[in-house]
């Protein structure tokens, strides 16, 4: 990769195309396809239109936030959904702060960074952090845009497929499609939750969530996040202090 430093910086179009190629050949395409086929099916089952689902993929571009939106917008009040989405997306702040300095160039104003900022999501971020250092500075913004738009396009395609399949497939396969989302989320959380606190938070969430929902507690999603999350955090601190 370091050979890229010596070759003359190619035009932005070429860098953008490199980004697209990097996107479609990355291991994340599979994960994204799995996730977004599930989200497409979920959106169909919860009665959202195809356009709405596509718009949510382009505008929100965060699988957990979209799943929360789709599964609670019909039942919960808007303020509760807003709180849950806000809480679920806080991770974007450290991610953007970690990545954007690599894209900053001398003459470019912050305006150039708005698109890369919006395109940042887990998959794009991980690939970006891995591939960007190997790119000469002027190429980095177009490359990252290519990477982001490539993955976003793949996700949109997958979500349309999921949406259409869910509409036409016999219930058995449609159910399997719907089951994809919880499975995919479960897997991605257990994979990147190495620390005890994430495992505990996830375990408590699985238990507390349905209990609160069953008791028709208002704002149950938010309370689940707060109660289960804080419990996991407290246990983490106690173990930390004990050590």
């Amino acid at each position: 990769m370091t050979a890229a430093e010596t070759t003359p910086p190619r035009s932005t179009m070429q860098a953008f195309r490199d980004g697209l190629v990097a996107a479609w050949t990355s291991v994340f395409v599979l994960v994204l396809l799995g996730n977004y086929v599930g989200i497409g099916a979920l959106a169909y089952e919860f009665g959202f239109s195809l356009n709405w689902m596509l718009l949510s993929t382009v505008l929100v571009w965060a699988a957990p936030a979209q799943v929360i939106l789709i599964s609670t917008l019909n039942t919960a009040t808007l303020i509760e959904v807003a709180l849950a989405v806000t809480l679920s997306s806080v991770r974007f702040l450290p991610m953007v702060v970690a990545l954007l300095p690599m894209l900053k160039t001398k003459e470019g104003g912050p305006g150039r960074l708005v698109l890369p900022m919006h395109l940042t999501a887990i998959s794009v971020w991980v690939e970006g952090m891995r591939l960007l250092p190997g790119r000469p500075a002027p190429e980095r913004v177009p490359f990252y845009n290519g990477l982001g738009i490539g993955l976003l396009a793949a996700a949109c395609l997958a979500s349309v497929i999921g949406y259409v399949l869910a509409a036409r497939l016999p219930t058995i396969l449609a159910a399997a499609l719907l089951f994809l989302t919880p499975m995919a989320l479960l897997m991605s959380v257990s994979r990147n939750s190495k620390t005890l606190i994430d495992k505990l938070a996830f375990g408590f969430g699985l238990v507390v969530g349905p209990v609160l929902a069953a008791h028709k507690v208002g704002l149950d999603l938010m309370w689940t996040g707060l109660i289960a999350g804080t419990a996991a955090y407290v246990i983490h601190r106690i173990r930390e202090a004990a050590r």
Binding site: S56, L59, L73, N74, T75, T77, L93, M95
Partner: protein
């Protein structure tokens, strides 16, 4: 107090933008603001300040024009007149908020007594 607007009242697309896009994007924008320096005139902050000012002005105008409660008993002409008088005094008194408020208050009390029901 209609606290419990669900998606049905305002349509899915608007709900998506207000409840899906906004709370999600706010963290990315904050990240960008941090990276490009949080100085006073970073464009995002300037825009937000303009939006907040316009919104507050809207609320205050609403308060004066169609206010319920005690202010409602004073004819709207008197209220607007008192506001203008107060503002004029504020300008004349070299932008002194104290003079503006004092004049506005005196004007509304006088107006209410003279024209009030």
């Amino acid at each position: 107090m209609n606290m419990a607007a669900t998606m049905m009242e305002i349509g899915p697309i608007f709900a998506l933008i207000l409840v899906g896009f906004l709370p999600n994007e706010v963290w990315r924008v904050l990240g960008l603001m941090l990276v490009s320096g949080l100085d006073e005139d970073s464009q995002i902050l300037v825009w937000v300040r303009a939006v907040a000012t316009a919104m507050l002005a809207g609320v205050l105008a609403q308060l004066v024009l169609s206010s319920s409660g005690a202010l409602g008993t004073v004819p709207v002409g008197v209220r607007v007149g008192a506001a203008l008088l107060g503002f004029a005094a504020f300008l004349i008194g070299k932008r002194s908020v104290f003079l503006g408020v004092l004049t506005g208050e005196l004007a509304i009390v006088a107006g209410a007594l003279v024209f009030g029901t």
